[in-house]
Symmetry: C2
Subunit: 219 residues, 2 copies
Amino acid sequence: MKSDKISEAVVRRLPVYLRYLNELHTREVPTVSSQELGQKLDLNPAQIRKDLAYFGDFGRKGIGYDVSYLIEKIRHILKLDQQINVALIGAGNLGHALSNYNAYLQETMKIVAVFDSYTPKVGTQINTLTVQPIDELSETVQSKHIRVGIITVPNTEAQRVADQLIEAGIEAILNFAPIILKTPPHVRVHTADFTTDLLSLAYYLEDGKELETNEQLTE
Amino acid sequence: MKSDKISEAVVRRLPVYLRYLNELHTREVPTVSSQELGQKLDLNPAQIRKDLAYFGDFGRKGIGYDVSYLIEKIRHILKLDQQINVALIGAGNLGHALSNYNAYLQETMKIVAVFDSYTPKVGTQINTLTVQPIDELSETVQSKHIRVGIITVPNTEAQRVADQLIEAGIEAILNFAPIILKTPPHVRVHTADFTTDLLSLAYYLEDGKELETNEQLTE
DNA sequence: TAGATTGTTAATCGATTAACAATC
DNA sequence: TAGATTGTTAATCGATTAACAATC
């Protein structure tokens, strides 16, 4: 196939493939079929083949996909064959948590700066990074060649921080605040909103299992 | 319309509606149209009307939707008109961060217990909760009528914890570990995997903006 | 009444899955 | 050669959007 416009659904599956392929690589498994991948990742094998075929002929008929080769290809497609510097804005608990995830980010996306507007936080250490005041954002984005921003500030500040990031020339944003950011079309925004995930989960709970009002809770 | 099987996409938008409706309610706005909602939430007004119409006729032609009434209805649909108790497994930074979000959870989903398998963490306080050893999970799930589990443990432990939660009779899981959990069909699992969000963001970065190898980084 | 907006049908668009020839 | 598995087309399925009669 090759080319066409690629849908977001396809792009979002690529990191999932990559993650499992890395695991296979560690286990020194040389090749993998779309069948096996599908089983492991709960996806239809035809869908996996189609996803990959958008970008090239990576497999071999009768054999499957070479694990190392496919890793290389997907990393290239996702632009993860270069280091991508990331800034974290918001040094609260969530920011702290995320700063530990560098290892999961294919070692190519990397949080290289942390900012907070709350004065007592400025100057403290998060892992190896020193929390900077937010007004150094623009300068640091330039000097450290930061292309992606992660917003972990309170709701009320999220839009303002987004504006500042865009002003500073950032290209993409991962937003953890449960609000809809207004951004220009050239800046890609993904929202990681766990409150939506959790609240929508409630819909699928079974009916008739609520607490009875007279039921006693052991504390 | 009313009824039919409701797609996951529809269910996932309900909390988004709810969140903004609550904001309108706070601002004492009495009614809202699908047009206004769509503008604010970046959604097609027809889609919003259709989503709501799956569950009943909540609007008034020529007027729009009564904010308070719609809040009540959506809360009922999402089963958020009762308290839903939640357990958090994993008392690391991420667990810590999430335990502060109770306020965003419509005050009906509530984290009422925290567990960790790492002995030194057991007994420490997270907000008002004392971290419990993981082998108290089953008992506490029963006694506190916990229906939902949030997994914030390391990758390697996630599947085991999921199994324990299911064994304990939990009905739904929000999984933060970047792996695909294997679970029986009656247990609903949502995955909140920010690494996928972030890595897929890289795809949308502009080409030709990589760091030149000879470019100097100011530290 | 005139203007606004719903609920719903029909049209469109897009994504997933099945099927199979090609070929390792 | 026989078995396995890809890449791709066609079929299916599902979700979004447009349009409009009904009506507040």
